[in-house]
Amino acid sequence: MLLPKFEFHEPASIQEAIELKKKYRTDARLLAGGTDLLVHLKKKLITTDHVISLLRIKDLGQIKNNKESVEIGACVTMARLSESKVIQENFCAIKAGADNLGTHLIRNRATLGGNVCNASPAADTICSLIVYQAHALLESTDGKRELPIESFFMSPGKTDIRDNEILTGFKLSIPGKNCGAHYIQLGKRKSSEINIVNVASFIQFDPSDQTIMNSRIALGSVAATPIRSFHAEKILQNKKASESLFYEAGEAARHKDCKPIDDFRGTADYRKAMIGVLTKRTLDAAFKQVQAQ
């Protein structure tokens, strides 16, 4: 398959990039890792006159640890996320997703910003970003803007990003003590998969009596965008962690919070059932992390 012809731009700074984006707006596509964009271009699923590569912009490839929060540049690759100490220590649900996305080769190229902007409901990092309450950092010639990641997604492939904007990175508060999180994805084989369903869970405990103070659960591949499982979260609120509680939360996620479709990867019924299992398992893993602290 041949890549269609387009004009290729390689800005060296964010300033240059946002000026290009202002100039070409929807006529330009941004290139980070290219693991989705180039495939879509080759398959003629999308066409574009301009491709703006972000790979020369050094700032976008950094992970900055600001003690209370972390900023992850949009062009940080999955492989970098997997290796990063601050991610490993504080955001293991993101690491779990980064570890499992695609294949080794893809992980060396695929970026967090790309995974988010591709906005697939099955994306391997989005559920985790949601449960950590990440903020998307956006920039244009009009200035900067921060958006909670949860309200960033509109529909498959569509985000709330403006035509003249570039996603520069993500800001995440470092969770305090007594917090745990995990992410599990389910596919047909062990690598190079597109998820049938995927779930991330985050829980915060009261250290005095092990009750759940706070929880966030995000479900992937069961709606047009990754979604929160509010019914499941409600069940957990102020309860003591137990296997049966996690099962109950899973069943609530399965029956009340997800609205999957049938497609060639799986039926809605199976997806729902697996939402139950994965919700239970991610909660259980998150709980075990806290116990191990």
Binding site: L186, S192, I194, F264, Y270
Partner: protein, 786 residues
């Protein structure tokens, strides 16, 4: 047993340095001066009448050198078996599947060629299409081929012994069904070719094929050229698996474009086109009934199968026969019947893939053996050994097991997997299962009816005496055949492997039916051995004359002449040799006369020393209709044990370990044999677990890339303990027979039996996606609680 110097070793493959350093030349690496690029116009409709084709705009596009349609390609029908030639290069008045070829363009660049294809205007009248066996067999179904009413491409009805009587005598009768899904061969290298038509009107086609010989015949027939004016060569291949075992329409279109433009033309399939062309494993729906006595003796087997064939026959007529015939063994079975139906529909044609026709039948039957064993409380291995044929036995459908290490394979996997300890003692969610299988070492007959030799080989000694050149038209497709033949030539001549240079895959080098039906080692191996013996004999003849020693008293070993009695005075020969090499510094000073000296002396006496070899099997098989399919000079045997973990909540199955034993006769190259065993296991796991070509309701492939069509990744591959069980095959060169396909036979049923052991569910549909296993577990649990 005979002692060998080279055979049975772990000699590094002769293509390894090229492949490891990236120097191996594949079709994509080749370009020619002035080369044009071709592109195909393929039907977007599954079934339609072509009302008109307007190529005028495409022809006018700058850079376009030729546009061809059926007007140029003609109406010669071709295919795989002459009994079912049902394809033309381009559709003439009807298209039968999404992807059916309509026209082709040659242009100065690929972009231009593809652009020109877009400019060809075709008017269609859409016809109703059918996509399943069930729909295609309905009375009112649209008909694909006039000569084959009811969309029945082929049907087979066979009975050996008396099945009804056998079932009456049986104490236990099991009937089950098994349905697999259409496969894609998923060769990493997609098909591609370059055709060139020179000023002397010789057409040379370089192509990624398993069968240069059949491609040569098809090209000559379709283009109306003499065989002698068509040369087909293959470069290195990124696998074939059966999908590249016949001429494809792109190769033919490329040849026509080259003849028309008088320029080299290159064409490639992209991955979507590979899926559209297809020609891989059929979807089979088997219903099998097995009857056995209380003591475990198998009495009768009743077998019915429907094959989802697609739009054309391809290998299908052979497939539908293989499907039945290869259940004749490896167990003693007096009564067997088979009713097979291959059905046309508006999807791409299926063809042959590793384990041709027999893999799913085996998967269905081997599960029934486990069910019978369970019911009578017998160990599944014991039941199989109890029914096992013996060396020299012939099946009820006339397949002769001239060597047969099947029971030895079972014992090897029993020990290798620690079966006796594990069977029945696996923890919850874990299971162990086994199965057996066998396969031909080359089809007994060519695809076209002929008395032709199946392989010819030339061994030529270089004039300096140092090197033997082996020329064979056989096809190295990654399986290691070049190395095997170099080893056989070296062993036979009695010289080191590094003194062999081998060239293969070129129809100018002789006749070789190619790499399919696991035939290369046995058949081309024989021809190589004969050619090397012929060359060796010519050297020894001269030596016998010069030294006045009978030929029988001499031999060549490790590059030296061995004398049976005493070493004669050969100083005259050595002096002569050294004189011949004035200025050389490596004059021989060994106590023994070297092969190099002897061979040089022989050259001085006789001129070129050329040994020729040939092979065709002895008369094989019975007289009944279809008896030819399944016959082979020898059969490879295989047993496997699979250990699995089933996640009872999600239905995910993990293959933890495979123990695999294979009787390949004498292993020519031990490492290559193990490689074929592991490759078979990997493909078997893919078929069992993930692979499925999915179509939409318009007949288009939905998952036409390797992201969505899921072959096994390294992360899914378990540790494979490959145990080579050697026997001595009387019909094989140095006792060798197949390993490339037999080794896939037990993989799927071993996994299915292990999943049953782990989760209590018998699966009757593949692949074992998590969802399918999950659903089966839910049904099983409901049954348990009811």
């Amino acid at each position: 047993m005979e002692k060998f110097d080279i055979i049975s070793s772990r000699a590094p493959r002769i293509d390894t340095p090229d492949k490891a350093t990236g120097k191996a030349v594949f079709i994509d690496d080749i370009s020619k001066p002035g080369m044009l690029y071709g592109a195909l116009l393929q039907s977007p409709h599954a079934h339609a009448k072509i009302l008109s084709i307007d190529t005028s705009k495409a022809e006018k596009l700058e850079g376009v050198k030729a546009v061809i349609t059926s007007k140029d390609a003609g109406s010669v029908k071709y295919g795989v078996s002459p009994a079912r030639y049902d394809e033309t290069v381009f559709a003439i008045d009807k298209v039968l599947y999404v992807g059916d070829e309509i026209a082709a363009v040659a242009a100065v660049s690929l972009e231009t060629a593809q652009q020109a294809v877009q400019l060809i205007k075709v008017e269609y009248e859409i016809l109703p299409a059918v996509f399943t066996v069930e729909d295609a067999l309905k009375k009112e179904a649209p008909q694909l081929h006039e000569n084959f009413p009811n969309n029945l491409c082929a049907q087979v009805h066979q009975e050996f012994g008396n099945v009804e009587e056998g079932l009456k005598q049986s104490d236990i009768i099991k009937t089950t069904t098994l349905k697999n899904k259409r496969q894609d061969g998923a060769c990493i290298e997609m098909q591609g070719c370059i055709a060139e038509y020179d000023v002397r009107e010789v057409l040379t086609l370089i192509t990624s094929t398993q069968v240069p010989h059949y491609v040569q015949r098809t090209v000559a027939m379709v283009l109306g050229l003499d065989i002698g004016k068509v040369r087909v060569k293959k470069p290195y291949l990124g696998a074939g698996f059966g999908i590249k075992a016949s001429a494809n329409p792109m190769e033919l279109a490329c040849c026509i474009l080259a003849v028309k433009t008088k320029k080299p033309v290159k064409m490639n399939y992209n991955r979507e086109q590979v899926f559209m062309y297809s020609r891989a494993r059929h979807q089979f729906t088997h219903t099998i009934t097995t009857g056995a006595k209380k003591d475990g003796t198998i009495i009768a087997l009743k077998h019915e199968c429907y094959l989802d064939g697609g739009a054309y026959t391809s290998f299908g007529i052979a497939t539908v026969y293989y499907t039945g015939s290869l259940l004749g063994g490896p167990y003693k079975l007096a009564n067997m019947s088979y009713d097979g139906y291959r059905v046309y529909n508006n999807k791409p044609a299926c063809g042959a893939q590793r384990g041709h026709g027999a893999v799913i039948a085996r998967a269905c039957f081997e599960q029934q053996l486990d069910m019978i064993a369970e019911e009578i409380g017998m160990d599944p291995m014991a039941l199989r050994i109890k029914n096992m044929m013996n060396t020299g036995d012939t099946t009820c459908n006339d397949l002769n097991m001239s060597s047969f290490g099947m029971s030895e394979c079972i014992e090897a996997v029993r020990k290798g997997s620690d079966w006796d300890k594990k069977k029945g003692n696996m923890p919850k969610g874990k299971g162990i299962g086994m199965a057996c299988g066998f396969f031909v070492s080359g089809a007994g007959y060519p695809i076209y009816r002929s008395d032709t030799f199946h392989g010819t080989v030339i061994v030529k000694l270089t004039e300096d005496g140092g090197t033997a050149l082996v020329y064979t038209a056989s096809a190295e497709i990654g399986q290691g055949s070049d190395t095997a033949f170099a080893m056989i030539a070296a062993e036979t001549l009695g010289i080191p492997l590094e003194n062999i240079r081998l060239a293969s895959g070129d129809t100018d080098m002789g006749v070789d039916l190619g790499a399919y039906s696991s035939r290369q080692t046995l058949m081309t191996g024989h021809a190589t051995k004969e050619a090397a013996e012929h060359a060796k004999q010519q050297v020894l003849e001269v030596l016998a004359h010069k030294l006045d020693i009978p030929m029988e008293d001499m031999d060549i070993k490790k590059g030296f002449i061995e004398f049976k009695n005493h070493i004669p005075d050969f100083s005259v020969l050595r002096t002569r040799y050294i004189k011949e090499h004035r200025g050389w510094t490596d004059n021989p000073d060994s106590e023994k006369l070297t092969f190099k000296e002897a061979s040089r002396i022989a050259f001085l006496e006789k001129g070129s020393i050329v040994g020729t070899g040939k092979y065709k099997p002895q008369l094989l098989g019975g007289k009944f209709k279809g008896a030819a399919v399944g016959t082979s000079p020898a059969y490879g045997c295989s047993a496997q044990v699979a250990q699995v973990t089933v996640d009872m909540e999600t239905g995910q199955v993990t293959i933890d370990h495979i123990t695999d034993a294979h009787d390949c006769g004498k292993a020519i190259n031990m490492t290559s044999v193990e490689g074929q065993m592991e490759g078979s296991v990997s493909m078997g796991i893919g078929e069992a677990m993930h692979e499925e070509v999915i179509f939409d309701d318009k007949g288009r492939v939905v998952n036409n890339d390797l992201a969505e069509y899921k072959i096994v990744t390294s992360m899914d591959m378990p540790i494979v303990n490959a145990i080579v069980v050697e026997s001595n095959e009387p019909n094989g060169p140095y006792g060798a027979k197949e390993v490339g396909e037999g080794a896939i036979m037990p993989t799927i049923p071993a996994i299915l039996n292990a999943v049953y052991d782990a989760a209590g569910v018998r699966m009757n549909e593949l692949p074992l996606t998590p969802e399918r296993v999950y659903n089966a577990i839910q049904v099983y649990r409901k049954k348990l609680s009811a």
